[in-house]
Amino acid sequence: MSAFWAVVQRDLVLAMRRKTEVITAVFFFVVVAALFPLGIGPEINTLRLVAPGILWVGALLASMLSLGRLFAADFADGTLEQMALSPNSLSVLVAAKILAHWLLSGLPLVLLAPVLGLQFDLTEEALWTLTIGLLLGTPILSLIGAVGAALTLGVRGGDVLLSLLILPLYVPALIFGAGAVQAQMSGLGAAAHLSILAAMALVAAVFSPWVSAASLRIALES
């Protein structure tokens, strides 16, 4: 267990030395959320309708942007190999890296989303639903994204390829996350959507570290 937290701490410290990368991804979310209204028009009723989708897609894309550096730096300097050879389970270490990634890339989005939601005139309840949904959903994005990042490790054109690989897999989270806010806004209540999101997050948390570790081993042994 201590190895787990050691890796989390290490990743956080390393990221703090390269703050710009973290901040850029977060700013991307802000910019995207501002771009859509510019493209759609300022009619507030329209914007309120499309807000859940826009904010979720923005979170998706921002999350995806930062996945490239999940394993890349450690792969380049040989740390990843050391992790694979260490007596600790690689799945545990990968889970730690994913947690650190979420803290750096997912959590900021969760905290920013209600602020951006105000630009779209969402009600207080809708903002809560949005935030809770993203709180459940961004871990899913990090977890599924980790599998993609592991599969494309060191591959040329890896970043774009990564997007192509995992965007289809993100669809369920997107549907239920944005759907939760829409359900809340239409008075149906978001409980069902959020429960399903929570279930997906749990399943992803159980399987993703293991699958990512297997994918990493494949990348390392070649």
Binding site: V147, L151, T152, V155, R156, G157, G158, L161, L164, L165, L167, P168, L169, V171, P172, I175, F176, G179, Q182, A183, M200, V211, A214, S215, I218, A219, E221, S222
Partner: protein
């Protein structure tokens, strides 16, 4: 039984088997296609609601089914390859992918051409078409990943994991798209709405489906032979193949 399994797991032996099999499979596929098309165009009557346009189902439904069956087959080979670490399983998985992607594309294409006269639009965001679109993306992702990795064994295994993850996610994706669709569209538009299919139409459709299935198998067998040749090219048994010796003779001075 095990002996046969392990015998043909070796690329050298499978090469010969595939070479003997594919012509027969292709011939059977062609015969069934002719029969199915005959039934579909010259025996099946006009549909009461959709006129002659409904005949697109004789190609749309088979390719849609095939796009899903081929993905399942890929997941099967991926599972075998990752569990037993056999080279041939990885090759079969990769050999099936292009055909599957083409079937997914054709499903979307013929679906659009069916939708336009029936519903007035080239595209509807109904659950099945949208899921098919995502399946098409999954195929493209698999092909892109396996092509991007130079190391063949790594490409096989990485592709295998992707195929399995994709296959396990397909039901989740379909369910979520279905949920998304029923919430946002009042009356659901179904591709097989209204008229119950006449017996003869169903028969023709099933025959065409089997024909496409056999076509996919024949193409995969043919394709995997080329892959075996390339990967095993330094082996003596490849150099001793009559077709290789003939090619050497043809190109040597």
């Amino acid at each position: 039984m095990n002996k046969i399994f392990f015998h043909y797991a070796a690329p050298q032996n499978f090469y010969g088997l595939a070479g003997r099999l594919w012509p027969w499979v292709a011939a059977l596929a062609s015969a069934l296609a002719v029969w199915g098309l005959w039934l579909g165009f010259f025996v099946a009557p006009t549909d009461f609601q959709q006129g002659q346009g409904y005949r697109i189902i004789f190609v749309h439904v088979p390719v849609s089914w095939m796009s899903m069956i081929i993905y399942l087959a890929m997941a099967f080979w991926a599972f075998l390859g990752l569990t037993f670490n056999t080279r041939l399983s990885g090759m079969m998985c990769r050999a099936l992918a292009p055909t599957g992607a083409i079937c997914a594309f054709l499903s979307l294409w013929t679906g659009a051409l069916w939708g336009k006269p029936m519903w007035g639009t080239w595209w509807v965001w109904d659950a099945r078409l949208t899921s098919e679109l995502i399946l098409f993306f999954l195929y493209l992702g698999y092909i892109a990943l396996t092509n991007a990795i130079d190391d063949t064994r790594r490409a096989d295994k990485a592709g295998g994991i992707l195929a399995l993850v994709g296959a396990l996610n397909v039901p989740v994706i379909y369910f979520s798209v279905k949920w998304w669709n029923t919430l946002h569209q009042g009356a659901s538009v179904s591709l097989t709405q209204g008229s119950k299919m006449a017996e003869i139409m169903l028969q023709a459709m099933l025959i065409m489906a089997v024909a496409f299935w056999l076509y996919a198998i024949a193409i995969a067998l043919y394709r995997v032979r080329s892959m075996i040749l390339m990967r095993e090219r330094h082996a003596q048994w490849v150099a001793d193949l009559p077709e290789i010796k003939a090619q050497v003779k043809r190109t040597s001075p």
